[in-house]
């Protein structure tokens, strides 16, 4: 009953979406305001309707109605309630519904904004959003329906929405349950974050396309969607960081990122989105790069759909493995059609999107932003090449050739280094005119201090060129950024007499976007330090030691104390070792690496014991043990220097994005804004430097 209700809500949402598209187009054609308003109401309704549908599925999951095939696939009686709820995105069909639900939430939210100034964009925003939503609904209803029921007939067990003739309902006694590897907090939050990032990029895209269709080619669409884009980017970044964290905590190979095609699929829209975030600033400040921004947002949208498709259908995730899902070709058609249509629209408006300014100096901020864009695009092309290379090589040579992580590391490494350098230099460059001399004047102090840091790095015995370069660049960016904070705060302090911390607080408050951006850069640098630490300095060892025996790795010593095994009441057998860790022969604590064996799914899960400090992680895996004698056990041990900075940097990064995206009191009088502009160090530098 509930299943039919949920399915019905889905179907009505599809009809309403199609109606919304038609009504919006008709309203524009006939210049009939009421039709457009009706389309707006239709879009507003999608969220409550899909909420009914999603809540139905959650209800089915929580109450364990295993006649519903999806419920039987992803949940089981023994699962705690929060896992039953989150099983909504534990499988393909449910996660597509979840995607559509989030998409509808954003679409509904868009209808609620004030449209007075942008009336002509509204119908086309509706059209683009609802077409995207309708596509996913078609996908769900006709191909990946989470409400399908199981039926038993003479021919066997089938699944369908309606009862086939001559069959009886088939109700399994229990469900399969969620894959144990997915029962981790990181995995529970990671997909929603990624999806939120994906769907919220649809909003700026919808506005961009509306601007193209209506010929409103100023930067209004960018100003409207600036915050949407930041929020989208924030969620996408969060999704990526949480995914890495999950891999580090759960997959038990001491790493955080494997350049797996599915990871890359989520990374690619982030790359183009980041390029977009930077290049829209040039359009806002200088009225340039209008074509380029359109290309970037179109590309980001296509990559979002492509990413959803890859992460869901797993077509490329391993060229050899997963069976292709029926939805694959449809996704390709949809991506192709939207991409080509968008580009055609862009070409149609090409001449109207002429830039208002030209690049005047190679070292101006806009030129450096452009360079940043090129580097991001370069990384994107490398990723894309790596993902599709097996297909290309098979097409041309008949031989399937793949590239692994070393390819990505080698090819993207120099570009990431270039980005780090740019992060240090670009904030000091002025808009329009900037020369080597003016730039040099701004940068020489932090540069000199960074040379000191370089000396310290060399003195401490680091010899790997990549690490030396990376750490030095990181130091430079940190110094430049802190110097910028100090300069701004100090200028304000002298002018207004506020105390330094207060001056800094007010300054950042008045220029949230600028200082939020700086905080984001700091976060990125901290993450870079963590990545350099684990990529360059990671060391590992492995071995079997008897009880009371010890293993050494670098400054660490580990002794194996005991091992215990027991059954839990949720169907696991836990084998847990107790080891004591000594650093420089000083006792620093006990660790409990363990392996859980899930009886029901016959799947073991290795959970590392980790001693985590800002300096390094000591990461112990219990590999094997002698169950009868419990005499000896085998461990694999990783030493991951600096890895924690990756997570700390992630938090700083998120904080910075929130600062940049925090709503201004926009309804305040215009006076407020012009004052901000006057005290902004950016414009003061443009005139003084």
């Amino acid at each position: 009953m509930i299943a039919n209700f949920g399915f019905g809500a889905l179907f009505i949402t599809l009809l309403i979406s199609i109606y919304g598209v038609v009504a919006a187009v008709y309203g524009v054609r006939k210049n009939a305001h009421e039709w457009i308003e009706s389309a707006r109401t239709a879009m507003l309704l999608t969220f409550p309707l899909l909420t009914l549908s999603s809540v139905s599925l959650i209800y089915l999951l929580v109450t364990g109605q295993y006649q519903v095939e999806y419920v039987a696939l992803v949940s089981s009686k023994s699962m705690p309630i929060y896992l039953k709820v989150t099983a909504l995105w534990g499988g393909q069909a449910g996660s597509l519904l979840f995607w559509a639900w989030l998409m509808a939430a954003f679409a509904s939210a868009v209808t609620l904004r004030k449209w007075d100034r942008d009336r002509e964009l509204l119908p086309w925003v509706i059209v683009v959003s609802l077409i995207t939503l309708a596509f996913f609904l078609v996908m769900i209803i006709f191909f990946e329906n989470p409400f399908e029921l199981l039926w038993q007939s003479a021919a066997g067990i089938t699944s369908s929405m309606f009862r086939p003739s001559g069959s009886l309902p088939y109700i399994p006694r229990d469900g399969n349950g969620l894959n144990p590897l997915l029962r981790h907090p990181g995995m529970i939050i990671h997909p929603p974050m990624l999806y939120l990032g994906f769907v919220s990029f649809v909003v700026p895209f919808a506005f961009a396309i509306s601007a193209l269709i209506t010929g409103r080619t100023d930067d209004r669409w960018i100003r409207i969607t600036r915050r949407w884009t930041l929020v989208a980017w924030l969620f996408l970044s969060l999704g990526l960081v949480l995914g890495s964290r999950w891999a580090y905590d759960v997959l038990g190979w001491g790493g955080y990122w494997a350049w797996d095609p599915v990871e890359i699929a989520a990374f690619m829209p982030w790359l183009s989105g980041t390029a977009f975030l930077h290049s829209v600033m040039i359009q806002e400040k200088r009225g340039m790069l209008k074509h380029w921004n359109m290309v970037l947002i179109i590309l980001t949208y296509s990559l979002v759909i492509f990413g959803t498709f890859l992460t869901r259908s797993g077509v490329l995730s391993s060229v050899h493995a997963f069976a292709q899902s029926a939805i694959g070709p449809l996704f390709f058609v949809f991506i192709g059609v939207t991409f080509v249509t968008s580009l055609a629209l862009l070409l149609h408006r090409w001449n109207e999107l002429k830039g208002e300014g030209t690049m005047t100096s190679m070292l101006s901020r806009e030129a450096l932003f452009l360079l940043n864009n090129l580097l991001f695009m370069g990384i994107l092309v490398i990723c894309f090449w790596g993902v599709i290379f097996p297909l290309i090589s098979e097409l041309f040579t008949g031989q399937k050739v793949t590239v692994g992580p070393p390819f990505y590391q080698r090819a993207t490494g120099p570009l990431f280094a270039g980005l780090l350098l740019l992060m240090g230099v670009a904030p000091l460059a002025a808009w329009r005119h900037s020369t080597a001399k003016t730039l040099g004047k701004a940068i020489w102090k932090p540069f000199l201090v960074s040379l000191l840091v370089l000396g310290v790095i060399l003195f401490s015995g680091v010899r790997q060129p990549a690490a030396i370069l990376g750490l030095w660049l990181s130091a430079l960016v940190v110094l430049v950024t802190l110097y910028e904070f100090w300069r701004g705060a100090n200028a304000r302090h002298r002018k207004s007499g506020e105390s330094l911390p207060l001056a800094l607080w007010r300054l950042a408050g008045r220029n949230r976007r600028r200082y939020g951006g700086y905080i984001i850069h700091l976060g990125v640098v901290l993450m870079a330090i963590g990545i350099i630490g684990i990529e360059v300095f990671q060391s590992e060892t492995q071995g079997t030691i008897p009880q009371g025996g010890e293993m050494r790795l670098g400054q660490y010593r580990m002794t194996y104390n005991s091992l215990a095994m027991w059954d839990t009441n949720d169907g696991r057998n836990v084998a847990r070792a107790v080891v004591s860790v000594y650093k420089n022969d000083r006792y620093v604590g006990d660790l409990y690496p363990r392996r859980d064996y899930y009886y029901e799914s016959q799947q073991p899960m290795t959970i590392p014991g980790v001693r985590s400090t800002v300096e390094d992680d000591f990461y112990v895996l219990l590999v094997d043990w002698q169950p009868i004698s419990t005499q000896g056990a085998t461990f694999k041990v990783f030493h991951n220097p600096l890895i924690n900075w990756l997570w700390i940097g992630g938090w700083v990064f998120i904080l910075g994005t929130m600062v940049a995206a925090w709503p201004d009191r926009e309804k305040e009088p215009v006076r407020e804004r012009s004052r901000t502009r006057m005290t902004s160090p950016k414009s003061s530098r443009a005139t003084t430097v």
Binding site: G90, Q92, N179, H320, F322, A323, V381, I382, T412, Q603
Partner: protein, 169 residues
């Protein structure tokens, strides 16, 4: 006056930007091609691997096969893992035609006439290694006919829907 002065400057600028952009594009292209050449791995099936003479490939090979459960031996002293894999088809299309991954793997391990190849891997025993799992290995084929895997990736057509499925070992 200012207008006429600006024009040639702008043109010179454009050329400079163009040259700079080209330089970066050239660098990216170089990075892609050189890295591809250095790191390309041939993706072979067990059949293809068995048919090739040893040392036919001087670079890394990627091979996938179905794990024979009885062949799994693990020496936890040296962390040496040995197992044998049987041939499975290489393309998604063939796998689908033969009834999906689970069935293909099942058939592969139960068909003694299939080509098989022994594998040696050094490291912790991966959680997902078991009978009828799909192993995707990167490494070299030794003169002794054993495949020495440096990297071991496992996929299980478990009852769980896709989602994770793979795990580096």
């Amino acid at each position: 006056m200012e207008q006429t002065l600006k024009r040639p400057g702008a043109a010179g600028n454009r050329a400079k930007f163009f040259a700079g952009g080209l330089l970066i594009v050239a660098a990216v292209v170089y990075l892609i091609f050189s890295s591809t050449q250095l790191n390309a791995q041939y993706f072979l099936t067990v059949n293809e691997l068995a048919a090739k003479a040893e040392g036919a490939f001087d670079r890394n090979i990627r091979v996938s096969g179905a794990v024979l459960g009885d062949s799994i031996q693990y020496d936890s002293q040296s962390l040496t893992l040995r197992f044998t894999v049987a041939h499975v088809p290489g393309s998604n299309r063939e796998i689908n035609e033969q009834g999906g991954l689970a069935k293909v793997l099942h058939d592969a391990v139960n068909d003694p006439s299939r080509a098989q190849i022994p594998v040696v891997y050094n490291g912790p025993m991966p959680d997902l290694l078991r009978h009828e799992a799909q192993a995707i290995m990167t490494g070299q084929l030794g003169d002794d006919g054993i495949f020495y895997a440096e990297e071991l990736l496992l996929k299980c057509p478990t009852k769980y829907e896709e989602a994770v499925g793979d795990q580096a070992g």
